[in-house]
Symmetry: C2
Subunit: 258 residues, 2 copies
């Protein structure tokens, strides 16, 4: 299996390196910015380009790892090369339907690594779940096989399921990170070191491997400790936006156990 | 330094074991329920009791690790033994002022391990920050010394600072866990395996060791991707309570970067 990577951002970068390390041949790397394409191409021994019209038919699978709102535009440009239209073409997005590729390609699908990537920061790719789908069953099999080369957790996930997973991922990742930011902001305001909360945060995440979060809930809202909730709400008067979040989240916890 | 432990719940249990493992002598273990006192006392080679009037003056430091709303009552009962009123007496609460002990003891303070504990589940106590305070400077030093025996991160934290830390701890621990529960609920509703989100959750927490959460924020609200936010909000119609949380958290993220 030979792969061509369209996109050298966070996902393309990590995915490309992992594929290369697992001896998957990468033919071409595209990025709008030539230097980005060149940087990644150098690592994965591929040829770089910043011109979609130069993407050739030498690969078996084309992975579009660009921003959500650029997927259709990129697909349209790729499809101008008629030799590509029957290739397996996938995107890596959590929230975009695979169908957006259907207008241009008959053999389309999705190859979505369910993780948050930051350029230059190592992740254990082996543990990253990969959600695969494809219009054709034969392509599903090939994508599952490609996934298994780089991850121990590869699953067939439909468009509808992936859309739901993306909502849940926003909740457990984006919103959680924002709560960390709120914690950091409160500490900063008071001249306290946010580091003191990091072991607690680690443990909160690690506990999940042992029990469901429902069983793990602690805190004033879980206990119905109105006195503490009142004290905290009073304190948060200096952060009005966070105060309403505190109230809504406390109510939501309280409702969960009443 | 000899310690007597008042309370054999989650905090008392973990703290007692850690002190014992670090060769701190534990004299007595109290719990309302005799079997709880006996279980922990057996492990830490102390004598168990379920009667506060039998707590003797053989220890140097008395650690009250009971529920917040029981601290005052327990303190009042202990103070009936006049030989205890000049001992170092601390509680382990994140949210209760040390002053509640002042009515009964001249040498009071706080010994607050900033972590979430679950009985029967191991924690790396060495990494747990311990927030110490005491009315008398000499006692502060003794409590810092005790803390350093069992943790690498011991800090003098005032009542006011501890109150703020507790608000931040509720945000980054209790609320975060509730978001995990929401993610799990959404998955369950759709017949999806919540496990698929766990590597993402782990990484969200681990990233904190590298960069502040402000720099780590990703997702539709961060990007201003209204189309995805709208799609998610539509989907969450089937969970109206979560829908309003989704909206408020998205707005809060959006405000943070505008």
């Amino acid at each position: 299996m030979k792969v061509t990577l369209i996109g050298a951002g966070n996902v393309g970068y990590h995915l490309g390196q992992r594929l290369f390390n697992k001896k998957i041949k990468i033919q071409q790397v595209y990025s709008r910015k030539h230097s980005n394409a060149a940087d990644l191409a150098k690592i994965v021994k591929a040829s770089p380009t910043n011109d979609l019209s130069t993407i050739d038919a030498s690969a078996d699978i084309y992975i579009i790892a660009v921003k959500d709102d650029a997927i259709v535009e990129v697909a349209a440009k790729l499809a101008k090369n008629k030799r590509l239209t029957k290739k397996i073409i996938v995107h890596t997005s959590g929230s975009v339907s695979s169908k957006v590729l259907a207008e241009y390609f008959s053999n389309y699908g999705v190859f979505y690594p369910l993780q948050t990537f930051t350029k230059g920061q190592h992740v254990y790719f082996k543990n990253i779940p990969i959600c695969v789908d494809a219009k054709k069953e034969k392509s599903q099999k090939r994508l599952l096989k490609l996934g298994k080369e780089i991850s121990k957790d590869v699953r067939l996930i439909t468009d509808k399921e992936r859309a739901v997973l993306h909502v849940a991922a926003v909740v457990v990742n984006n919103f959680t990170n924002h709560l960390f930011h709120i914690g950091a902001t409160i500490c900063k305001e008071e001249g306290l070191d946010f580091d003191i909360l990091k072991p607690l945060i680690q443990e909160t995440a690690e506990k999940l491997s042992r029990k469901p979060p429902y069983d793990m809930q602690t805190g004033p809202a879980r206990r119905g400790d109105q006195q503490t909730i009142k004290k905290h709400t009073e304190y948060l008067k200096k952060f009005p936006k966070y105060q309403s979040l505190y109230t809504l989240l406390s109510e939501s916890i309280s409702n969960t156990y009443s």
